[in-house]
């Protein structure tokens, strides 16, 4: 444990430089030992919508460097009201830039659960806590997969946030499992949480991923891609 935990009310673990001087674990500040807390999450890349893009994605950086990749969505805001947020992938033999790269060749089987509550409490929420949405699951087809539904854009403060985890996309043996947990401010003023999980039924390594709304642009927010340390 460090001898000091905070400097000017800032946790030592959160400080990387003092007066632009980088210090390392084991060094001392004012003769007090410094213990830096490492984090196994490595930020690989950020995809930012800027003023508007048709889709956000990553066409590099998904490889065997990490076993688990996390995609963190922050305030993804649509151009159009009441649209679903979607993802699909490209395998290494059909990439953007080399193959057709149209995110339409890897079949996915996935389940879809939601839980929701309306702002005015005027609608019944699922009695079992979560509801299986049979019209949103995917059965071994190469369509874009919905991660959440009915994202609003009526006022301007609505968006989607959450995380998608992708396991071992580099495997050339196994299908690729994924799990997503997101929350949305939906059309009609609901908070809607969606749990989506499944597998990409493709033994070819997955190297590219794309996110978009079912129609029109992403006009706010960003997606950060992290790798979780293997060693």
């Amino acid at each position: 444990m460090p001898d000091i935990s905070k400097i000017n009310n800032v946790a030592v673990a959160d400080i990387s430089k003092l007066d632009s001087i980088t210090f390392a674990d084991g060094q001392k500040v004012n003769n007090q030992s410094v213990s830096l807390i490492s984090d196994a999450h490595t930020l690989i890349d950020t995809a930012d919508s800027g003023s508007g893009v048709a889709s956000l994605g990553f066409t590099s950086g998904i490889d065997s460097t990490y076993d688990v990749y996390e995609f963190h969505f922050t305030n993804i805001h649509p151009e159009t009201n009441n649209v679903n947020f979607l993802f699909q992938v490209n395998p290494s033999d059909d990439e953007v830039g080399s193959g057709t790269g149209e995110y339409d060749t890897s079949p996915i089987t996935s389940t879809f659960m939601t839980s929701y509550q309306k702002e005015d409490n005027a609608d019944a929420h699922p009695s079992a806590g979560f509801l299986y949405e049979a019209d949103q699951d995917i059965a071994n087809v190469a369509n874009y997969v919905p991660l959440n539904l009915h994202v609003a854009a009526a006022v301007g403060d609505e968006s989607l946030s959450g995380v998608l985890r992708l396991f071992a996309p580099h495997s050339n043996t196994f299908v690729k499992h994924f799990m997503s947990d997101t929350n949305v401010y939906t059309n009609g003023d609901y908070s809607r949480r969606a749990l989506v999980a499944g597998y990409i039924n493709d033994t070819t390594p997955i190297t590219q991923i794309n996110f978009k709304f079912a129609s029109d642009e992403i006009q706010g927010g960003n997606i950060k891609m992290y790798g979780v340390a293997k060693s």
Partner: protein, 187 residues
């Protein structure tokens, strides 16, 4: 939150020697408040089996092995590749009510086709506490032997106030023929 990789207790492929279980007997202590176990592409020797864990209080009074008392709930959603069977429900075969048997996590009925496996994350909270029971949360996804995707959530508590310092992972029948397990500490 910061995640620190502590160790890689398992990292084998089908070309390596299979293992009956993965027993982690060090590194679980009071250093971290909670621990995460990332299980990636756990591949079974036997068709239609369940990935499980149990724990041990090696420094406590019950040192007989991985047989702590667990109470837990479990739910799952599944869908067959042909589009049938889409269901969400409570999984009474995977819950525990003060039982000491293996606790199923991450998925159920995992198949042994060459491309089938189960992946997911188990979080264990404050295992070193000598005051409280030990809570855990698990979520995973598996490729079922009947070509279903099975997404499972299991949570519960290990009903002991002794410090938990060992954990085992295994399928409830047959070996683990491939997979990676990484143990992280959460600061």
């Amino acid at each position: 939150m910061a995640l620190t990789l502590i160790s890689t207790p398992l990292n084998i492929t089908t070309s390596d020697t299979a293992v009956t279980s993965v027993d982690i007997t060090s590194g679980i202590d009071g250093t971290y408040q909670s621990y995460e176990f990332h299980c990636v592409n756990m591949y079974p020797e036997t068709n239609n089996v369940n990935f499980c864990f149990q724990v041990n209080a090696a420094t406590g009074s019950n040192t007989a092995g991985f047989d702590q008392v667990i109470t837990s709930s479990s739910a799952r959603a599944y869908l067959k590749e042909d589009g049938t069977g889409g269901t969400l429900g409570y999984d009474a075969n995977s819950d525990h009510h003060q039982e000491v048997s293996l606790q199923r996590i991450l998925s159920t009925g995992t198949g042994d086709d060459a491309d089938q496996s189960v992946s997911g994350i188990l979080r264990l909270y404050a295992p070193s506490s000598t005051t409280y029971v030990k809570h855990f949360l698990a979520e995973g996804n598996g490729a079922d032997h009947g070509d279903y995707t099975v997404n499972s959530w299991t949570a519960g508590y290990i009903n002991t106030t002794e410090a938990i310092d060992e954990i085992t992972f295994k399928f409830d029948s047959g070996d683990i023929e491939a997979g990676t397990i990484k143990m992280f500490g959460v600061s």
